[in-house]
Symmetry: C2
Subunit: 314 residues, 2 copies
């Protein structure tokens, strides 16, 4: 995760004071931006205010305002982050109104995980300044955000939102185009589909799946992604990994070797990308680095798992 | 990960002094067992000896012996962990000889990730005492081991090896039956196949995939597996998650809704298994626990990532 990059403080409107809205507010305020949270429900405002008062310093809290009117929220705003319910009509209506009330230069982002940007923004006047900025849940502890452009989202909008997200300390994934599930949820869904298949076939119990991930795959993936994992697992890096294990992986792919992407053009692209990030001669040093970090995580988890098991035993 | 459970010290034979063999040796010696590492190549012995001297206390080191003869290694052994190359004929030959030389009660395990137990042990006399015990790489930092039975592996053998692995502090996944890729590599392969698909479709670059996992999915999965993640993401747990999101997940499954396991019997089994581990009313407390742990991991990574980026920049 990148440390928050310094940038000029912005005026941020958060639409919706639920769990996602307050988590975004926390990040923006903590990074020096001014925040107005808008929610029509006064209980949500009270609840968000209490939560933020407990999480933020008094200095950061002073940068957060609360309001019940959309007009107040977006007045003078540089950036709007929408966090209302996942109903297409609700989102379309709120953006239509927000665009009519906000300054001409304002950027509009939806937190949606399920809706595509073109579905939300199709009838918005300034859709070049609209996009999806999808966080993980909860945003303030998982430092990732997917920026998903619609057909008319401008490169300049993507650049500006990327800079803003980096100022929050978020790692930014910038999709080339929208696609259902974006990246994070598609990767998750693929693994879970296979996990369900193992349960259905009677090969492993549900808790065996969870254990395999949390004591194995997930620990490694907390530091290096799946492509880097394979890059580090071969002396010659990803290219050699593909040559050695690609045919077997293609043969055992869920859809069979005909449709396996191990037989397509992607592995070569991954190999090229990896070599731009790490020389083959630096692989052993990176492996040693990973081992050290896994030892630290294991020590952290040894305390953690005890607490977790107590939790489970209640 | 479970803390190492106390058990009577055993005599362990490690066949092969490479990276996996020495890592197993480290775990067994550190947990109080006596270890004999066997390798015909004297360079391997020297290299393993040096590595272990650097990693183990002198008290633990004193429990490790080195030899070049299989007979010396398995003489008096309670347990044999084979870590030679992934060639079926080499493994079959070494097990045939080891079984003829070891005590009648000895248990024989292969570290293989690619070969099925019945392929390795089909012509072994005591195949009820044979199995695959597959670690992650490297075993001593990733606390997971998959126990994979062959057709004739006895329950008693599985029980004894599970107890032995728990004494090392390893988390144990006990497969009901063998299947190519076991559990860990099948889950990994499913996610990577989807990752390659996203690269091939031009939706995301390879490093975007890695970033999504290491700053998002992987951090969560380092503490809770994929089923628990979904269980915690719905007020009503996995059962409600399935009802709310199952149809959409099935519709967007790689093979389409007809073959999606979201439409099969597995989700109900997962829901039942989750409720045996955690009450619905305890979900909020477990969510809070996870958030605290993610904050600790994020702090750990903030140091880590800096080191990692330096590495990448060299």
């Amino acid at each position: 995760m990148k440390k928050g990059n310094a940038m000029k403080a912005r005026q941020i409107a958060i639409l919706g004071g639920g769990l996602i809205g307050r988590s975004w507010s926390y990040m923006f305020a903590q990074s020096g931006h001014r925040v107005r949270i808008c929610d029509e429900a006064s209980e949500s405002i009270v609840s968000a205010r209490n939560w933020l008062a407990g999480e933020l310093s008094s200095e950061d809290t002073a940068r957060v305002q609360f309001c019940s009117s959309l007009e107040d929220a977006v007045s003078g705003a540089d950036y709007v982050q929408e966090c209302v319910s996942e109903l297409i009509d609700v989102k379309r209506a709120i953006f239509r109104e927000a665009v009519s009330l906000a300054p001409a230069s304002c950027i509009f982002a939806s937190s949606t995980s399920a809706l595509l940007p073109d579905a939300i923004f199709s009838d918005i006047a300034h859709s070049d300044r609209c996009l999806v900025a999808h966080p993980a849940n909860p945003p303030h502890v998982l430092p990732i955000v997917e920026l998903v452009p619609g057909r008319s989202t401008s490169e300049r909008t993507m650049d500006e939102v990327e800079e803003l997200m980096l100022s929050l300390g978020q790692d930014v994934v910038r999709l080339k185009r929208a696609s259902p599930g974006f990246v994070l949820n598609r990767l998750q869904a693929a693994l879970v589909e296979e996990a369900l298949s193992l349960v259905e076939a009677g090969i492993a119990d549900p808790d065996d799946i969870d254990r395999t991930v949390r004591s194995g795959l997930g620990m490694r993936w907390a530091f290096v992604g799946p492509f880097e994992t394979m890059d580090l697992n071969s002396k010659g890096g990803f290219e050699m990994y593909t040559r050695t294990l690609g045919p077997a992986l293609a043969a055992s792919a869920p859809g069979g070797p005909e449709t396996s992407k191990w037989n397509g053009g992607a592995p070569a692209r991954v190999a090229t990308a990896r070599r731009q990030l790490l020389k083959v001669s630096d692989i052993p040093a990176r492996q040693s680095w990973l081992i050290q970090k896994l030892k630290l995580l294991r020590a952290l988890k040894n305390g953690v798992e005890t607490a977790g098991e107590e939790q489970h035993e209640r």
